[in-house]
Assembly symmetry: C2
Homo-oligomer: 149 residues x 2
């Protein structure tokens, strides 16, 4: 491995993750309605942003975000992808069972359940755009289950 | 909005975010070497995972992750996308300047710098696969800058 120039500064962790969905109204019903995330802001046809713990879930319409920003807009670089993206959320202690039941009551198919070698558990499902979502116990990665992200 | 069945359980926030890159060796040099993230685990040709604060950055080769899992493997649902994905990391107080300098010393082009209406600052750049990365001050979303994700 090539040595980096100097030691890298610190990072606190992920602040925002993006998922892409053409139908933002359906996404809003899912992330806001079923997953119960607080909607923070939206631009019709372009994006809807949700709060999740100390992090943000940004749902973007890729047909808009791939475009270069307008001259008078904030210079946000283009982005956008096709195909299912994976995102995992941290479930508090005891929440895996509650979430599994909640998803099923809302007719969301549980695609997979895994108990990992270290005993941590995950449940997988899809958002309406087909992105692969997961709730996992943070001890999966040796994180303290009582600390919020 | 259609009312969800019951109140949703709690979530602590994002635990894992995925980025897709066909060349995992180059990704390792970037995320591990330049961004200084601790490598946690890897499967050659398929993925390399990094720790970032109390979260995880999962770099996947989409050519492998789109495949259905083998019969004797853990039943991890397929995923994978084409095109640049956006991810934002939380920068501690004062780190935006340090990161900007560090990226430039490592010949990473700064694509954009933004000061948001509430005074929070962001710097944007690309990973080798073209994913759109950002370091931002967490007050962008009214999060306490001294709390780690």
């Amino acid at each position: 491995m090539q040595l980096s120039q100097n030691i890298s500064p610190a990072l606190n962790g992920i602040l925002e993750t993006a998922v892409y969905a053409e139908d933002l109204d359906v996404a809003r019903e899912f992330y806001g309605g079923i997953l119960g995330m607080e909607e923070v802001t939206a631009t019709e046809g372009r994006h809807v942003f949700f709060r999740c713990g100390k992090t943000m879930v940004l749902v973007f319409n890729p047909n808009e975000t791939v475009k270069q920003p307008f001259e008078k807009s904030l210079p946000i670089p283009p982005h956008g992808s096709n195909g299912p993206i994976h995102v995992c959320f941290s479930a508090p202690p005891g929440a895996i069972e509650s979430w599994t039941a909640h998803l099923q009551k809302n007719d969301i198919e549980i695609e997979s359940k895994i108990t990992w070698p270290n005993g941590a558990r995950s449940v997988y499902f899809r958002d309406p755009a087909g992105n692969s979502l997961e709730f996992a116990e943070p001890k999966l990665w040796d994180y303290d289950p009582d600390e919020s992200n």
